[in-house]
Symmetry: C2
């Protein structure tokens, strides 16, 4: 079967033909995608109540159209990643019901009872189980897909399987490159432009540090990453957490996912200076956010070390000092990637609603500058950090 | 065509069938391989004098036999590497005349007018052009196969093309792992064993540093490496230099090839304490060796930087400070890999004739211990080195 773009009606017949539903099913199909890249449908059998999500990747970026082609291989990558995530982090990603690489399509578990976490955090929603869940996801994936656990051969075949040039290129450009100069891809708050031109784009030291982190992103093949682990890639409620949208998956520096997540939470932390909540409300939520960051990072390391002690098969596992070396090497990169993502989400091609929902452009600019200045400080001092409390205390000292 | 092992007669008919020689050729074929892995034949047309080298990789390690299987894909890797080396370092590798991945075979330029450099260096032969040639080879390959030059996509496809699990595993084990404990793969001078047991294998700090360098070898995909660049992989005379045997090629840390070469030269440097030459002769040759190491490393960096200034296409090229960062990061790894290879060649699975030609086992042991102690010192202090003179001066202070 070769690729064709499904319309809503064809989704029904496809699902029945693929055996996902029986021919007698009374299917309702709705497009539910707010995704930038793909078509996403929800299909529900009115008779039984059974429902699934269908994702299909067109050979272009959906929100832009056919003028920006993008490989459909991204759906093969996403489904491959989902299989591995289901193996090493079961219950923390959607179940994979059916996949079809020719059609650039996957059918996954319907998780409509959960909401995208970003929309909760901009309304001060709390997620008491999140730090525990996401640290399990990240530690399991980072450890069990690394050379510490896999055989040398398995690891190299994993690198090969997840060679993902087109999607990685988007990150290389949009995240590490474009925000550091006046690139036409950037989407810039006009009120922010003078700061960028007179201050930010002249910071060559910052750009150098971004380049070092970009080079690591390009060359350090440590673990299979989600590759875009922000709160918009997470469905959650008080009890449950699911990570989705793994099309950016590749084998890269293990610090990347952790850093991206921490950076996104810090954007939310800063964003409250632009919004109408009481000081007490803001402080309480900020305390929650910093506690969450601390917990995520501490649990991540704790769980990673526990896997290492229990399951490491590589010879280095037994070398005294290597585990400490690994984390000492990795932690400044976590902080660095957090800063990288804070910067790119202010005036790069994709923003966070945390900040962009502030309609007054001057107030939005003030938030953006506060994020950029905080990111700069933590980027330039990242090698001095040895544990997460030092970072969160710095954040609190600067802004509370 | 599927694989079959050529005998001497079949080499003739194969070469004619493949169009390497005309049917009227009067071919003489001799086996010339002293290679450990492959069958190597020289075929010469008595009528015209034209000759070529035929290399075929059997599905096992030739010197061991069928009991140690090894992928014939290594010949595909070698020929792929040779094509790229011929492109970026023409005249410094054999020409590739014909390749046949099904038959795990390549036909390359006959370089019988040159000799393996190792056999020259153990007889105090000098190679006045070598530093210039090999620094060109290493700088060209390291730069033009890196993210600094290639597009992100080209680089990732290069990584994929050179996924080389079986050969890399040999290096991971034989080079980085086995020499640090009493592994049955090791071949140990019985006179050296007490030192290994009572001293060397108890050095946990050394083993930790070896593990860090091994982890870099496993995870840092910077440039396409030769992967086994010792003086036994080099054909040379006073005027000419050719690098061969690239079956260990993969995309790894750019410091690796440089370090392996420097380490092999340092083994030769130390080896003279076991041999009957006059003090003056030894000092002169040692001066030549250290000058050569200095020149190789300085020219390597000079040429790499010149390529960078001229041809870097990646955005980081323009960032002030990134080039210095690259070399500051890389140089301690060069020193580290030099130490790694010095150690593994003393009591690992494969030794250097520089030391093993010393027949008196006690004198050989003294040389081996001197190499191991020198390697230990430079490994543990490698982060203090910022340029090659510091290393060669240390070597001279210890032993001259």
């Amino acid at each position: 079967m070769t690729y064709y773009e499904l319309n809503q009606e064809q989704v029904c017949s496809y699902l029945i033909q693929a055996g996902v539903f029986i021919p007698e099913a009374d299917l309702e199909v709705n497009e539910v995608g707010d995704g930038n890249l793909n078509f996403v449908y929800r299909a529900r059998d009115a008779k039984t109540g059974k429902s699934v999500i269908v994702k299909q990747a067109p050979p272009y970026i959906r929100v832009i159209g056919e003028s920006w082609p993008l490989t459909t291989d991204r759906m093969r990558i996403e489904a491959d990643a989902l299989e591995i995530q289901n193996r090493f982090a079961p219950g923390l990603v959607p179940g994979l019901i059916h996949r079809d690489s020719e059609m650039a399509l996957e059918v996954i578990e319907d998780l409509s009872h959960l909401a995208v976490m970003r929309y909760g955090t901009i309304r001060m929603k709390r997620y008491p189980r999140f730090a525990d869940h996401i640290s399990t996801f990240m530690a399991n994936m980072a450890f069990y897909t690394s050379d510490l656990y896999l055989s040398s051969r398995e690891k190299k075949l994993l690198v090969k399987q997840f060679i993902n040039p087109e999607l990685c290129k988007l990150v290389e450009d949009f995240t590490f490159t474009d925000p550091y100069y006046d690139c036409s891809n950037n989407i810039i708050n006009p009120e922010l432009r003078p700061y960028l031109e007179k201050v930010f784009w002249r910071k060559t030291d910052l750009r150098l540090e971004a380049s070092k982190l970009r080079y690591k992103y390009l060359t350090e093949a440590e673990s299979l990453l989600h590759g875009d682990l922000h709160t918009g890639s997470i469905l959650a409620n008080e009890h449950e957490t699911r990570v989705f949208d793994s099309e950016f998956a590749f084998v890269g520096p293990s610090a990347f996912d952790v850093g991206v997540l921490v950076g996104n939470i810090l954007i939310n932390y800063v964003s409250w200076i632009g919004k109408s909540y009481s000081e007490v409300e803001i402080r309480r939520y900020r305390d929650f956010l910093l506690d969450m960051i601390n917990e995520i990072c501490l649990l991540y390391e704790q769980k990673f070390r526990a896997h290492w002690d229990l399951d490491a098969r590589d010879i280095v596992a037994s070398i005294p000092g290597f585990q400490d070396f690994y984390f000492a090497k990795s932690f400044p990169d976590v902080v660095g990637y957090a800063a990288i993502v804070m910067i790119r989400r202010m005036h790069g091609i994709a923003h966070n609603v945390d900040v962009d929902e502030i309609e007054d452009l001057e107030r939005r600019r003030d938030v953006q500058i506060a994020v950029l200045e905080l990111a700069e400080e933590i980027m330039l001092t990242r090698k001095e950090f040895t544990e997460i409390h030092e970072l969160t205390e710095l954040v609190k000292r600067r802004l509370y």
